[in-house]
């Protein structure tokens, strides 16, 4: 414990267990080739800590995405837990098979899908939806960097409006898909959004997800300095701004019906968020529309949280 509890993100409780071995037996091991300042790396280390805190273990199923490259080249690996790389669109099904055999053999440990936004919002949508509909006992974690990062930065349906990608050279026109809304609509036991800039909330949601049985879906806003064309050192601050400005609301949905907002935005002007990333150009981001969409999205969730509280 330390005085960190007083920082706005409540980073404190993580520091109760700071002596995470970052050697061979942790979830994400050193030597991985993720870019410096990678949000996914932070999320993986936080996942490892949460598992350790919960006294749980996991097997990872990873579709084609940066997370698959993270493993490194055979015969070495950066993952300290049993891991299988699956086809791009098929991760949830593979995980369902793994979970089925775990349960048949009365074994413990999580089966965790660790997938990017492309493998979740796009190509893996059907498979994910089916696993959710069956309420298979999986923890599906999407680290959302809003881009096909591994292929060099193409638009996905998670890419926010205004963002330049190699396939939206003048900025994307369409809104980001409401994946949590879609997942909640399946009535799964637990769905939540997470930000690495709010580690205490992040930790609590991971622990909640680890305790919950059935399909659990977590969406992590995952900064990508390479794709976002931002300073690696700014990674955490960027997603913090996304939360405070209302661009990425932090909330959770229980049983697809009951809502709770976890961090109230202070409505920081999103302009600062956009300015710090060269994927956005001033003339391609409609700030007014962004503010309006953020407000409306928040209001919609707030109404749900008031009418159907957790």
């Amino acid at each position: 414990m330390s005085t960190a509890a007083e920082t706005r993100d409540g980073a404190g409780p993580f520091s109760q267990i700071p002596q995470i071995p970052c050697t061979d037996d942790c979830l994400l091991r050193p030597g991985n080739t993720n870019c410096g300042g990678c949000g996914m790396s932070i999320a993986l280390t936080m996942l490892g800590r949460a598992l350790e805190e919960a006294g749980d273990t996991c097997m990872l199923a990873i579709p084609a995405c940066c997370g698959a490259v993270t493993a490194g080249a055979f015969p070495t690996t950066s993952y300290g837990v049993p891991t299988v790389c699956t086809t791009f669109g098929g991760v949830a099904a593979v995980a369902s098979g793994m979970a089925a055999i775990r349960d048949l053999n009365s074994e413990t440990g999580q089966v965790i899908c660790w997938a990017g936004d492309g493998g979740t919002y796009d190509i893996g949508m059907a498979t994910l939806s089916a696993a959710a509909e069956r309420n298979d006992d999986l923890l599906y974690i999407c680290y959302d960097n809003e881009i096909y990062g591994n292929t060099g930065g193409q638009r996905s349906s998670a890419t926010p409006p205004g963002a330049r990608t190699t396939t939206t050279p003048t900025g994307k026109r369409e809104e980001k898909k409401d994946i949590v809304g879609i997942m909640a609509a399946h009535g799964i036991p637990y769905a939540a959004t997470l930000s690495i800039a709010h580690p205490e909330d992040f930790r609590r949601k991971l622990l909640t997800a680890l305790e919950t049985r059935g399909m659990r879906f977590l969406l992590i806003h995952s900064p990508c300095p390479t794709g976002w064309k931002s300073e690696p050192a700014d990674s955490v601050q960027l997603v913090r701004l996304a939360v405070s400005s209302g661009l990425f609301p932090l909330y959770e949905v229980v049983d697809g019906r009951r809502y709770r907002i976890n961090v109230e935005p202070d409505w920081t002007d999103p302009a600062d968020y956009f300015r710090r990333q060269r994927r956005f150009r001033d003339d391609e981001v409609d700030l007014e529309a962004t503010r309006r969409v953020c407000r409306e999205r928040y209001e919609r969730i707030r109404h749900m949280a008031e009418a159907f509280p957790v």
């Binding site: 414990m1 330390s2 005085t3 960190a4 509890a5 007083e6 920082t7 706005r8 993100d9 980073a11 404190g12 993580f14 520091s15 700071p18 002596q19 995470i20 970052c22 061979d24 942790c26 994400l28 091991r29 050193p30 030597g31 991985n32 080739t33 993720n34 870019c35 410096g36 300042g37 990678c38 949000g39 790396s41 932070i42 280390t45 936080m46 490892g48 493993a71 490194g72 080249a73 055979f74 015969p75 070495t76 690996t77 950066s78 690495i196 580690p199 300095p225 390479t226 064309k229 931002s230 300073e231 690696p232 050192a233 700014d234 990674s235 955490v236 601050q237």
Partner: protein
């Protein structure tokens, strides 16, 4: 051949990001020069490839900077593929990947590395007592109350006392002010002092004996430290009780006697002897010097400043210090129905005014010749005095006590004639000099005038012309070192300064007698894992204030106004918990919040014991640990 730093060039031209500069065009420029390509040709090639702006500039700079001397040797043959090849067929795919870490030491990617630094927090810098404020707050934040007290006792034997009466310059300099108000350090010091438990063990008893004249905060503090060093210490106090001005000059409702007793007892328990009712004059001082290995004179400021107000001074006008001492020692003083005027703007003025109220005065007015801004009293005490009903007339100078004789022979109401002042140019102290406003006299009804105009030292024990200041040896003809300590030496007037003086002189005596250099307090200890130690004070602009949550200052309960009018009960109840300590920003000092550990994407930043350990073999130099450290203790260092 002159090497060229492509990384620096790329950064200069804004190519890529700080931690991942894109060096391709800079390298292209350097290579073109090495190959002997004309500059124009290279630029044309880059233009053809679509490079513009910073990329072209970086290439041009690199081209310019590379100096080729002598013939260029051809690079030796080899495909440059250094990755290890499995022997023969290598392991079967069925074995799966595992065991060894990837062979890539990602630390090689870094062009900057994080390092630890430490600054001086402003509270520590300004504390006259030399307390390690940051450290004791850190201990309190972790609910280690005993540790907090232990940290305080390293420098000061009076945490419970200072936690009540210190003007707390630490709070005035607190970086948190710009966020949401200073940390309530004073109350937290009281919390630690009142609730912590520490048993002190002095060093092995030494043969040398030290005499201390005066048992005020300076004398007692010197005695405390000297006793801890192992000296035999005897205190000579002219009064009946130990404590000096802490005892006589501060009313119960601010500093209850038993609190002072407890802290004085802690000092005596170290083996300090005290002799009371003994006045040390010059002759006896010489005697002490002959009988001891060192003598400290800590007699403080004994001379009270007076003001000639004419008429009936004996009955009407008294000194605040004396007034407070009489009240405390139980001399019956009835002020029922009286109008009391207190002259002065310091804490004694406030204490006297508030004491007068408690004794039943019909009205209490303070007259002060400057404005509230210049008042030396602790701001909170001024506030409390006003709350209790004390009225303060600013820019007012008393002139004379007058009585208007009535026609019927009655001596009439007694008044204090006052004169309005205005502030002119700043004087030597930096404060604007009050100047009289002609024709502005007015009078206040007044049964009693209490003067609280400050004090000055009584130097009569020393030979004429002795320069009395801290660290200056007195009575130089004797072999025995004799030093002045506390207000006598510094004329500062605050308890905290007296503590600091007492501690410093104790260290100095120890050094003089033994040749041993000891350092007690003064600054936060430099931790073993700090790479760079800065001796400058860190200000709020160097902190990442956006990372801190706003949270209002915690204050303790205050007793009812009724009780404040009629009793001498301590008005502050103290903080119910040490939670306020969590507001400390720990400016420039690592408090093991481990946000950096939490956020390190590689998991290669570890807390081992109390140390931060960076595994540079794998650290990619992304810099998140720097931008996310709220207190600026991690910085990036160029490789």
């Amino acid at each position: 051949m002159a090497p060229v730093d492509a990384t620096v060039l790329a950064r200069e031209h804004g190519l890529g990001t700080r931690s991942v500069p894109i060096v391709n065009t800079a390298l292209a420029g350097a290579v073109a020069k090495l190959l002997g390509l004309p500059l124009e040709e290279m630029l044309a090639a880059l233009e053809h490839l679509g490079f513009v702006g910073g990329n072209v500039d970086a290439a041009r700079d690199a081209y310019r900077l590379v100096v080729v001397e002598g013939p260029v040797r051809k690079a030796s043959a080899g495909n440059g593929d250094t990755r290890p090849r499995p022997a023969g067929r290598g392991p079967s795919f069925l074995a799966g990947a595992g065991g060894d870490l990837p062979g890539i030491k990602t630390g090689q990617w870094a062009n900057e590395q994080p390092r630890r630094q430490q600054y001086v927090p402003p509270c520590n810098h300004v504390c006259p007592a030399g307390n390690d404020v940051q450290a004791f707050l850190h201990a309190l934040a972790e609910d280690r109350t005993d540790d907090a007290l232990e940290i305080l006792l390293r420098t000061s034997p009076f945490p419970s006392t200072c936690g009540r009466v210190c003007p707390a310059p630490c709070m005035a300099s607190c970086n948190r002010i710009t966020l949401d108000g200073a940390v309530n350090v004073r109350e937290l010091e009281r919390y630690a002092g009142d609730r912590g438990e520490v048993s002190l063990v002095p060093a092995e008893r030494r043969e040398e004996r030290v005499a201390i004249v005066g048992s005020g905060p300076a004398g007692l503090t010197a005695a405390y430290h000297l006793a801890l060093y192992g000296y035999g210490v005897t205190i000579y106090e002219a009064g009946a009780e130990l404590g000096g001005l802490l005892r006589t000059g501060i009313p119960e409702f601010r500093l209850p006697g038993e609190v002072l007793d407890r802290e004085v007892t802690r000092i005596l328990d170290l083996g300090v002897e005290a002799v009371t009712g003994v006045f040390i004059n010059r002759e006896r001082l010489l005697e002490l010097a002959r009988n001891h290995d060192a003598v400290l004179v800590a007699t403080g400021l004994q001379e009270l400043r007076a003001l000639r107000l004419g008429l009936g001074e004996e009955e009407t006008v008294s000194q605040g210090i004396d007034f407070l001492d009489q009240v405390r020692s139980g001399v019956p003083i009835g002020l029922d129905g009286e109008d009391v005027v207190v002259v002065g703007g310091g804490n004694t003025a406030m204490d006297a005014a508030r004491t007068a109220l408690r004794l039943g005065a019909a009205s209490v007015k303070v007259v002060y010749r400057r404005t509230r801004k210049e008042m030396p009293a602790i701001a909170e005490e001024i506030e409390e005095a006003l709350e209790e009903g004390v009225h303060i007339d600013f820019l007012t100078q008393p002139v004379a006590v007058q009585r208007m004789a009535q026609a019927d022979g009655d001596m009439g109401e007694q008044h204090l004639v006052c004169r309005r002042m205005e502030l002119g140019e700043p004087d030597a102290s930096g404060r604007r000099r009050p100047e009289e406003v002609p024709g502005s006299d007015f009078s206040l009804p007044c049964h009693r005038v209490i003067l609280a105009l400050g004090q000055s030292p009584d130097l009569s024990v020393f030979p004429e012309g002795t320069e009395v200041r801290e660290g200056h040896e007195l009575l130089g003809l004797l072999e025995t070192p004799v030093y002045a300590v506390g207000d006598l030496a510094t004329n500062d007037g605050t308890v905290a300064a007296a503590l600091g003086s007492g501690r410093r002189v104790a260290m100095h005596i120890h050094q003089t007698l033994t040749g041993e250099v000891v350092v007690t307090g003064e600054q936060t200890r430099v931790r073993s894992d700090v790479d760079v130690w800065h001796d400058e004070v860190i200000r709020d602009e160097a902190l990442r204030m956006h990372l801190f949550e706003r949270r209002p200052l915690a204050v303790g309960e205050v007793i009812d106004l009724d009780r404040r009018h009629t009793t001498f009960d301590e008005i502050h109840a103290g903080l119910p918990s040490a939670g306020e300590a969590k507001r400390c920003l720990s400016c420039g000092v690592c408090n093991e919040c481990d946000i950096c550990v939490t956020y390190c994407p590689e998991g290669v930043l570890k807390r081992v014991g109390h140390d931060l350990v960076f595994d540079y073999a794998y650290c990619k130099g992304c810099g998140i640990c720097v931008t996310e450290c709220p207190r600026n203790v991690v910085f990036m260092s160029h490789l």
